[in-house]
């Protein structure tokens, strides 16, 4: 059984799924690829929306898609640096 992901890793994984799907993914696909329970996904997804990491759009067929915002891209870009900082300063215990 794999190690439980912390919140920061979960956010990274979800944002990374969106980016690797050409920055436009349907909510159901995102739920499937993010390896989270429905309840957990809704919780994290709401937080990602509130914190401005993702935005909801409508495609040409009128279906809802999710894409990254500039802040979301910035998080992905800086993730390794942030992770390094938290690990180096032993701030892992708190999320």
């Amino acid at each position: 059984m794999g190690k439980k992901r912390d919140k920061l890793t979960l956010i990274f994984d979800v944002l990374n799924v969106i980016r690797s799907n050409k920055n436009a993914i349907k909510p159901t696909r995102l739920l499937r690829y993010s390896n989270l329970s429905s309840q957990g996904f809704l919780e994290y997804y709401g937080e990602l929306l509130n914190r401005g990491f993702v935005q909801e759009n409508k495609n040409e067929k009128g279906r809802k898609t999710i894409s990254l915002t500039d802040k979301g891209f910035k998080f992905l870009e800086k993730y390794q640096m942030i992770r390094g900082f938290i690990d180096d300063f032993e701030l892992n215990g708190m999320m």
Binding site: R51, K78, M81, F85, I86, D88, E90, L91, G93, M94
Partner: protein
Amino acid sequence: MIEQAPFPFSFPGFAPHPPVGLLTLEILYFIIGITLCIITFLKTKEVYNLTKHKGIFYFRQTFIFFILAYIMRSVFLAMLMINPSSASMIFMPLHDIALFLLIYFSFMALFSLTYGTLWQPNKEHYAEDNLLNGIAVALSCLVFFGRYEVIPIGLGLCLLVYSIIKIYLTKVTRKIFFTQMNVLYILLFIFWICNLVLFLQEIDFGIKIGFYAVSLVLFGIITHRVFKRLK
């Protein structure tokens, strides 16, 4: 000769006329210390805004309290320079307020440091923030009004022992018991307590230089590591 007015703590090193050497030491300590704390605080702003990580929050909060403590310390000293007799009705309340806030901010810095970096509870802990504030205010009142200067030392020892037990209990499975950062945080904690106590006491100039120098080196190491990680 001007008679020294009663004061919450005796401060013979500064009144009635502070020696130039001591004054220079205090100014240098203030400038270098506050600069290192401000740099660390500002440098971690972006990572905190991106993550809202609680550990980073307490790490930054520690440094904002160190900054405020440095400011109060300099205000307190400046008041003594302006009015060494401490007898003026205008300056006396400012002295007292600055000293009280210096003690309070020092306690808060130490609480944030131990809580955020050494203890690290996993759950949401907004209630504890208020609790920490309440304890800091109560302890500051005891030190300030009761003149119990032994409290910072006693509290420091208690927190330190508890932190070490906590590290042992939570990280017992690791190969390395105390990491480099654990040691750095503990040393910073000890030296801040010592600085606070020494500030309130008349001590040898040489000892003071030694303690100030080690404190600045510890702050310098942390700032350097922050820069290295967040360049």
